[in-house]
């Protein structure tokens, strides 16, 4: 164990003496999350929408007032029928339509419950989901004010119903995506590069002719970068929750556990890469092409998987990122717990075990 402690110490010295890399590794997640967060959430102002008011009572007017007074929307038309809405969509005149049901006011008063229908333009999923969230926030505002205005009586809720886009993709999809990228960059890339560096400088040989156990060398390489990427992950989550008001419905501890398992998978993949590469450049190229690129393209983070050709959908299964993103989405957005996502966890953990065993075998080869 003393050897492992020493290897860890040495590894941290490498990390802290290489200031530029350390700074890059720590600043990158913040930069990425801010970049994605702001480009996605602030670009849309005064989106053109249509409102079909079936009710035409004082509450529906108040709601419409609320919509138009928000910065998000510009109500460009008040159609009278659903067909008119369809027409507006086809003309590309509007991005979203809201349908207020009949008897809006009376439903609110008597049943404390009503349903507002939101119709999206699915041609741009990202924008659609952002707008949906804006509608939600307006509805929430409206609802809060209404609750305050009646001093007694039960609170009510408004359900929005989405059309055109029934399996609603959250705007917050970018957060799990960024966490994935950061973890891969920091753990897989950094650990594979530093191991390859030891090959280049010859220190690997010096290490391997000592009687030290190989598993210590591997663990010693992996743990420091897992710690760093763990810190980054916490930073990302904090920024997402406090700056971008991302919902965090599942348990934070379970979420972090999930991240740790994924880091282990990413790091073990990094190990595997470094065993087959002889230079840092090799390690970097292989990590980029073999892990980072597939993660960006095939994890469902930027491009929806189910709209890809079958080959890619199948191929996506062998990369850990897909499973992690499925799991983290469920945990963050749906609030799923261990019993919902354990199959994903098992796959990730299994991958880690396989990668590490292959790496150890490869490192033990003497040729």
């Amino acid at each position: 164990m003393k050897e492992l402690r020493m290897i860890l110490k040495k590894e941290f010295i490498h990390i802290f003496r290489d200031r530029i890399t350390l700074l890059l590794v720590l600043a990158m997640p913040v930069a990425l999350v801010l970049l994605f967060g702001f480009t996605i959430s602030t670009d849309i102002h005064n989106a053109r929408i249509a409102v079909l008011d079936h009710s035409k009572d004082s509450q529906s007017q108040a709601f419409i007032q609320k919509l138009s007074s928000s910065n998000y929307f510009q109500i460009v038309s008040y159609p009278n029928t659903e067909t008119e809405i369809d027409f507006q969509f086809k003309e590309n005149n509007i991005k979203l339509a809201i349908v207020i049901p009949h008897n809006f006011e009376s439903q609110l008063e008597k049943e404390h419950n009503t349903t507002i229908q939101v119709i999206d333009d699915v041609s741009d999923l990202n924008i659609a989901s952002i707008l949906n969230n804006y509608v939600r926030s307006v509805v929430l505002d409206f609802q809060n004010e209404y609750n305050e205005s009646i001093t007694h009586g039960e609170p009510f809720s408004i359900t929005t119903k989405m059309e055109y886009n029934s399996n609603m993709e959250s705007v917050y999809m970018f957060v799990p995506g960024i966490i994935t990228l950061i973890m891969i960059l920091v753990t897989a890339l950094m650990s594979s590069i530093t191991l390859a560096r030891e090959k280049e400088t010859g220190t690997m040989r010096m290490l391997f002719i000592t009687p030290v156990k190989k598993i210590y060398v591997v663990i010693g390489k992996v743990i420091p970068y897992m710690i760093i990427s763990f810190i980054s992950t916490i930073v990302i989550i904090v920024i997402s929750v406090f700056v971008f008001k991302m919902p965090l419905n599942g348990s934070i501890f379970f979420l972090l556990l999930l991240c740790i398992i994924f880091m282990l998978t990413a790091a073990s993949f990094g190990m595997l890469i470094s065993t087959i590469s002889t230079t840092q450049l090799d390690a970097m190229m292989i990590t980029m092409m073999g892990l980072f690129l597939p993660t960006v393209l095939l994890s469902g983070f930027l491009f929806p998987l189910n709209s890809m050709p079958m080959v890619f959908q199948v191929l996506a299964n062998i990369f850990p990122a897909k499973w992690f993103i499925l799991a983290i989405k469920d945990v963050m957005i749906k609030g799923s717990g261990f019993f919902d996502v354990w199959p994903y966890l098992t796959i990730l953990f299994g991958m880690a075990v396989i990668f590490i065993s292959i790496s150890l075998k490869m490192l033990d080869k003497r040729n």
């Binding site: 020493m6 000592t210 009687p211 030290v212």
Partner: protein, 308 residues
């Protein structure tokens, strides 16, 4: 007892490059054994095999009674290795590097200080400096300390003096002699023929083959030709002229002199040679017989192998 026994070791790279061919030799305990040969002779491959980093294709190796191929984990505790290129952590300080390798060998610095003290004393003033910022000589001394920190029974040194100036080389060999007095068996490789005479025994190696193993004195005694040395005002015109020499001989520049080894009966050959030089109009100093050096022996042996 033999500290190291290498029997018929072969290694082929990429199915075509024969890096080592039937390498066989033994090193006695406490011996300072030299592996002498140029770059690319197969010395580094042999070191990689002996330090358990590479498996030979065939052959048997025993180190201190252990089977190197199967008991390699035990072997590692008993050997020290100084590779040909600087292989310590450049961003760790001198002391941090030493501490690190001490722990890797489950050893501690205090226990073996007496062994490394003479070397350590020279680098101790720089113990806080990063290893990458040391001068070449200092780097090497640090690497040697790291290789000795667990008091190995056999020390392997791969070309420790290549590219090193003559003064530092001399110093380094003095250090090797003191290591030897500590009872450590030393296997050292070098491309410098003059260093060979400082070894107890040497193996001449070229193109993956051992051309001869013996004490330096004995190798010199077995020089086949009769060696002469002489000066010339213009050595390169002399060498050019010698191309037409009808005698069985081997000639080459040797510092300021020309060395020529004859494979003839000198009674008749020398007058012929003198006549030849005169015919060629070559002025020359006194032609003296001379005791061959290891370099002369190496040249003779390599040329003979070329003719075979």
């Amino acid at each position: 007892m033999e500290a190291l026994s290498v029997q018929k070791v072969n290694k082929v790279y990429d199915k075509t490059v024969q890096a080592l061919q039937d390498i066989t030799f033994e090193i006695r305990e406490g011996e300072l054994f030299g592996l002498v040969g140029p770059d690319g002779a197969g010395k580094s491959t042999l070191f990689n095999i002996l330090t358990t980093l590479l498996l030979p294709d065939s052959g048997e190796i025993r180190i201190l009674g252990m089977d190197l191929i199967n008991d390699y984990k035990l072997v590692r505790q008993e050997i020290g290795y100084l590779p040909g290129t600087f292989s310590l952590y450049p961003d760790l300080s001198v002391k941090e590097n030493l501490d690190f390798f001490a722990v890797m060998y489950k050893s501690n610095i205090e226990e073996n200080m007496d062994l490394i003290r003479p070397i350590w004393r020279q680098i101790e003033p720089f113990s806080k400096r990063k290893a990458g910022k040391l001068s070449g000589g200092m780097k090497q001394k640090l690497a040697l300390c790291c290789a000795l920190i667990h008091r190995p029974r056999i020390l392997f040194l791969d070309e420790p003096t290549t590219g090193v100036d003559p003064v530092s080389r001399k110093e380094f060999w003095e250090i090797l002699q003191t290591i030897k007095t500590q009872g450590i068996t030393v296997l050292v490789s070098t491309p410098y023929m003059d260093e060979a005479t400082l070894c107890d025994r040497i193996a001449l190696i070229q193109n993956g083959k051992i051309l001869g193993i013996d004490t330096p004195q004995s190798i010199i005694q077995h020089f086949k030709g009769t060696l002469y040395t002489f000066r010339s005002a213009d050595i390169f015109s002399l060498l050019k002229a010698l191309e037409d020499c009808p005698l069985q001989c081997n000639y080459y520049p040797y510092g300021e002199y020309c060395h020529i080894a004859f494979y003839e009966d000198m009674e008749t050959a020398m007058p012929q040679f003198l006549q030849f030089l005169e015919e060629q109009g070559q002025e020359h100093g006194e032609i003296k017989p001379i005791q061959p050096s290891i370099e002369d022996c190496f040249i003779e042996i390599v040329k003979m192998h070329r003719h075979e």
